[in-house]
Amino acid sequence: MKIRTHLPIVFTVPTMAVLAVLAFVPTVDAVNIALQNRELSNPDSVYVGFANFRALFSDARFLNSVWVSVEWELITVIATMAVAIPLAILMFEAISPKLRNALCVLFMVPVLLPRVSAAFVWRFAFHPLFGLAVYPLRLITGHPIDLLADPHTAMATVAIVDVWQWGLLFAVVIVKLLETLPRQPLEAALLDHARTWEVYAYVAMPMLRGALISLVFVKMIESLRAFDLIYVMTRGGPGITTETLDMYAFSQGFIESGRISYASSMAVLMMIATTVAFTILWRRVRRWQEA
């Protein structure tokens, strides 16, 4: 269909222009603000060069939040995949298609909940005195146990909620992908006396390699959006054990001191780090998928 028309220009240029303005204005301004010493309470400010950035690298709380973010990223991505893949295989193997479809709908519920709601539901369930989830622990030990207030368990407890939302969704995605696989290679492997787990490990999962890599990529991006969960469940506490970068930037720029320029310099570093990392990864992902 070769028609000479200006439709592509009319349809894309205005939209892309709007998007570009919406995206670039805050990005450029973030850099601009990061180079000043602006505070929320006081609109007067002067340019201070890279002073904010230099201050960041001697700020122990900032370095802690970098580490917490990396830890969060690793825990949630790995745990999500570790829940999703086995659960999907079990669903594909052990239950009838009808029940499977019903469960697929059910397992989409957690991820559709506003994260504020999901966080609250579980904070309520983990409440040391009358939470349902810790009720068995309370019965066994006879003491109230506050998992969210213990520095050793707080991060893992918040991560459970994240995995609850994303792990179950990914299980649904993988089940639907398994359903689309051609049967012959799997049956051939079974005829060759492969055990069930071997069929999945050596035949089915490699066939889904491209899709699984995309899922990991998606989860890495989504794990950066942990703020809502952490804000409602721990507010970065106990102490600063669950204070991720976005949580720290928020409290610097907003609650504690209103140091908007300092917070902005963190924002700039985050933008650079994630954009560079994900651009490189995205290229890789493309290549792996095509290979």
Binding site: M16, L22, R38, L40, I95, P114, A171, G253
Partner: protein, 273 residues
């Protein structure tokens, strides 16, 4: 025998996963209908006299009603902007050979890489300087970035799945390119497009961080109002909290059916192209 046993074990694991969804949500639902004394019990209570007080209180609060109204206006307007500008753009990228098609797709995707906090912090300053801080207008414009990017990203494959033969037949029948888009492509792809639009709605309805940072009183959305209730002091009104969380969660769950069939249609192997 061993096979039956492992199948049984597998079913238990699946049942546990299902319980992890049902039990906490059911518990929240039940607690929304409980009096405080029935919630603050060392042993969880299953049987109790239900009350509507919590919901009456929540719906009667000025802050909740404003939040609800703000949420509806803000997500409605930004979803509309996302659809009106995003769908034509997605169609053009999907259908017309363009030099920048890949760049456009990558640019739209890369917007998702940006940490929300990194956008919100400069926007606080920008909206303060323009005098639009804590207004619905500011939120709608900010959210349009989200809805546009999401709608374009999800609608491109939806338009690609429209069989090109239909559009070619329409062209032969004398339809112009714009008529083909409005009268052929849009109606044919409609089912998947609704999925994409609903998805962008759920995203902005649930959005919390940007709303928290860009509003202080007038333009607060429902998630911000609900989160403030969850931060109340020692003597927490748990019943009211549960009721407000239920209210907040209902709209996205209404679309469960639409979104689950959208997911299935995305993951189905394509028949052509």
């Amino acid at each position: 025998m061993a096979r039956g046993l492992s199948r049984f074990a597998a079913r238990i694991v699946i049942a546990l996963a299902a319980m992890s969804v049902i039990v906490p949500l059911l518990w929240t639902l039940l607690s929304g209908f409980k009096n405080r004394v029935d919630i603050v019990t060392p042993t969880p209570m299953i049987f109790f006299t239900p009350t509507l007080d919590n919901f009456a209180y929540v719906l009667g609060r000025e802050s909740v009603r404003t939040g609800l109204l703000n949420s509806i206006i803000v997500s409605g307007a930004s979803v509309l902007i996302g659809a009106v500008f995003g769908l034509p753009c997605a169609y053009a990228v999907a259908r017309y050979p363009m030099r920048f098609a890949h760049d456009i797709q990558f640019f739209v995707l890369s917007l998702r890489f940006l940490p929300p906090v990194a956008i919100a912090i400069p926007l606080i300053v920008i909206w303060l300087d323009v005098g639009l801080y804590d207004t619905r207008t500011a939120l709608i414009i900010t959210y349009s970035l989200l809805t546009l990017a999401t709608t374009i990203w999800l609608a491109i494959p939806a338009f690609k799945r429209v069989p090109p033969e239909i559009e070619e037949a329409a062209f032969v029948d004398g339809y112009g390119p714009y008529a083909i888009f409005f009268l052929i492509a849009l109606p044919v792809a409609w089912k998947s497009l609704i999925g994409a639009i609903v998805f962008s709605f759920v995203l902005v309805w649930n959005e919390f961080l940007i709303a928290l940072m860009l509003t202080t009183s007038d333009a607060k959305t429902l998630p911000v109002v609900a989160s403030e209730m969850t931060q109340l002091g020692r003597d927490v009104p748990w019943g009211i909290l549960n009721a407000s969380v239920i209210l907040l969660s209902l709209p996205p769950l209404l679309f469960l059916g639409v979104l689950s069939s959208f997911l299935s249609s995305v993951l189905k192997p394509r028949n052509q192209g």
